[in-house]
Amino acid sequence: MKKILVVDDSGVQRKMIIQIIRKAEFQNDILEAADGALAIEVLAGNFQDVGIVLCDWNMPNMSGLEFIAAIAKVPPVAAIPVVMVTTEGTEEKMAEARAANPNLVGYIAKPFTPEQLRDTIKPILAKAG
């Protein structure tokens, strides 16, 4: 079963996302990272096992946009589906994220409901196996 990588500089936000995933009864292992650079380090050791990346935008050191743009240039990693989970919910920002990573498959604007997150990741995880 593929793992879920949650990238957010807010530990509370990561906990909330993980709670939603667990309450929705997804059994996938979950990896965490507090910024884009740390997420790349996590992927370096786990990229074959990660089936989805849930990524914040505004983070210190390396933003979510920089991170998804960087992994889009590394062929095997570029295939991992990405979902942005961010306060940057304008159409302009969504277009910017899509341009940065063609494998952006979902976009969730904060604040969001548990149902929004569950319904977004369910088909992606089902496909990832």
Partner: protein, 212 residues
């Protein structure tokens, strides 16, 4: 000016209510009473923004009420101010400002949001009103918790052109200049090192035909 002020008032109030409803499962309502105490322990979390509008949004909340709010976020009882409480209050102000941005953004109104800074202390006030700076201040209640949102802003006649190079937050700028990422290396070094490690790991992946 009156149009922008009225738009911001509505956007701020609606965004607070949405964030509390969706993330904390709490019904937030504006109240008239003056809340910000000057003698009790409180948390202030502030986040800056630049663009056509420049300023900051702050939340001021007593420690006990902050604990109650983050307890709702995490679905567990928290009775003391921990790093999670500070983080959670920062995330609330981040979500509220994100909501305001979504509601006011358009071709003529673009803003960029920074990263929250949270301060714990006594006898604190948000006092950033200067010439040509406007302030919106609203008190809210949600459950037993009471809190204040303060939006300070000024209007630029022309939004800065090109990519935002200006630092949104003085602390971020200082951190960047000092390369404070815990190891003495700059953030740029850290990004490159992480990318190098990822590329190396991919090249060594036997399933990709790379060299071990």
């Amino acid at each position: 000016m009156d149009d922008i002020n009225a738009t911001l008032q509505t956007a701020l109030n609606d965004s607070v209510k949405e964030a509390f409803s969706m993330t904390l499962s709490m019904d937030a309502q504006t109240i008239e009473a003056e809340l910000m105490p000057h003698v009790q322990e409180a948390i202030i979390s502030s986040i800056g923004f630049t663009g056509k509008l420049e300023g900051n949004l702050s939340i001021c909340v007593l420690n006990a009420d902050a604990c109650a709010m983050v307890s709702n976020m995490l679905g567990m009882e928290i009775t003391e101010v921990t790093s999670d409480v500070c983080d959670g209050i920062g995330e609330i102000v981040n979500m509220v400002l994100g909501g305001v941005k979504m509601k006011i953004s358009g071709p003529e109104m673009k803003i960029e949001i920074g990263i929250p800074t949270t301060i714990l202390g006594n006898n604190m006030q948000v006092l950033s009103k200067k010439d040509k700076t406007f302030q919106l201040k609203y008190n809210f209640s949600a459950g037993t918790a009471k809190f204040t949102f303060i939006l300070n802003y000024k209007i630029h006649e022309q939004a800065p052109e090109g990519p935002q190079q200006k630092s949104i937050n003085a602390l971020e700028k200082l951190s960047s200049l000092m390369g404070q990422n815990g190891s003495g290396q700059t953030a740029c070094d850290a990004k490159q090192n992480a990318l190098d490690a990822l590329n190396k790991a991919v090249q060594q992946d036997p399933s990709k035909g790379g060299r071990p």
